[in-house]
Symmetry: C2
Subunit: 222 residues, 2 copies
Amino acid sequence: MEQTALADDEYRAAVTDLLGVLAYGELTAFVRMAVDSDMAPTLSLKAHMAQLAHAEYVQYTQLADHMRDLGIDPEAAMQPFVAPFASFHERTRPRGWLEGLVKAYVGDGIGKDFYREVASFVGPETREVMERALDDEGHDEFVVRIVRDALRTDPTASGRLALWGRRLMGEALSQAQAVAVERDAMSALLIGGGMDLAEVGRMFARLTENHQRRMTRLGLEA
Amino acid sequence: MEQTALADDEYRAAVTDLLGVLAYGELTAFVRMAVDSDMAPTLSLKAHMAQLAHAEYVQYTQLADHMRDLGIDPEAAMQPFVAPFASFHERTRPRGWLEGLVKAYVGDGIGKDFYREVASFVGPETREVMERALDDEGHDEFVVRIVRDALRTDPTASGRLALWGRRLMGEALSQAQAVAVERDAMSALLIGGGMDLAEVGRMFARLTENHQRRMTRLGLEA
């Protein structure tokens, strides 16, 4: 059982980090999307963006509840990730509604890829909570449609948004690397769970490929 | 039944306005609070503020669902109120975490007073949805405690926040007046429902008194 595994200090520290980074990622995604919804050109799009933000909040509360169930303090678990996320968002402030939308889609996608990658290293209850967070209720479809529509009416936007996508991925990878260096336990879980360094490299390659697939879906060059 | 009453064009127009202004008020409150949560000095306060924002979003969806049940298009109903709310929020941008918190408390309080005032003029189903929106799940307590704590550690803030509270009330009343002049059907519902002009005046007096009571609870001069 997971509770038994949690008695192991190493595993507990790793799961605490993992749930902490995921939960704080959802909480900041919630705030960023709510902020960006204010830039929406129509009321309908604003309401939709608010719904996306709300979905992130619900996932945040599920992760926080799960931590409490495991006897982990969510705030303590999230604290180490406040600075890297602040830094990521500081460096990737969207300059308009479309950039915000692309950021939500790309950021969410990278987050979900990471969920999928690490789910096999954790106990069954934690895995279930993480898998629930993978259900996006058709939100991706919404974003893809809006961005493609926007590109049809303003083709000049595509070069700028393609650059923006590369910048987002670069900043995300650079923060992820900083976090991995800092958080020994989480890295040990991945490595100890059967990943060797070559496998970690392949994981980053998969994250990048998926990102490129998402950019293509938006109609943008990756 | 309310469906019968809704066949009456005047009543329908009034209820559409009423639900529209309430729903858009919740939606913008959600966005503002999420934005302000970013200024919270600790992770714990940020999470709490996000929870307040989330509660506003849930109330917005309940009002929007209720409109759809009545055959009212929520977006069309909210549209006339986009400009007055934008103007209110534009004129009352908080310059820090505490101002944001006081604004959330004061704005929410005025909104809820207004729910209470108009609930007696609408049909039973609409009244029920509005009464559900009055349940604040202890959020007011949270804000009052934080503001009073902050005033204890920084007594100089109290003069500035007292002024801020007066400004918020002034801007809210001025926008409310603009809306009342613009939206005939809603005014007619109140007047036709038994309110004469003197009663409307007394309603504004009650809203002001309740606002003063809230400021006192925060430890501020009204």
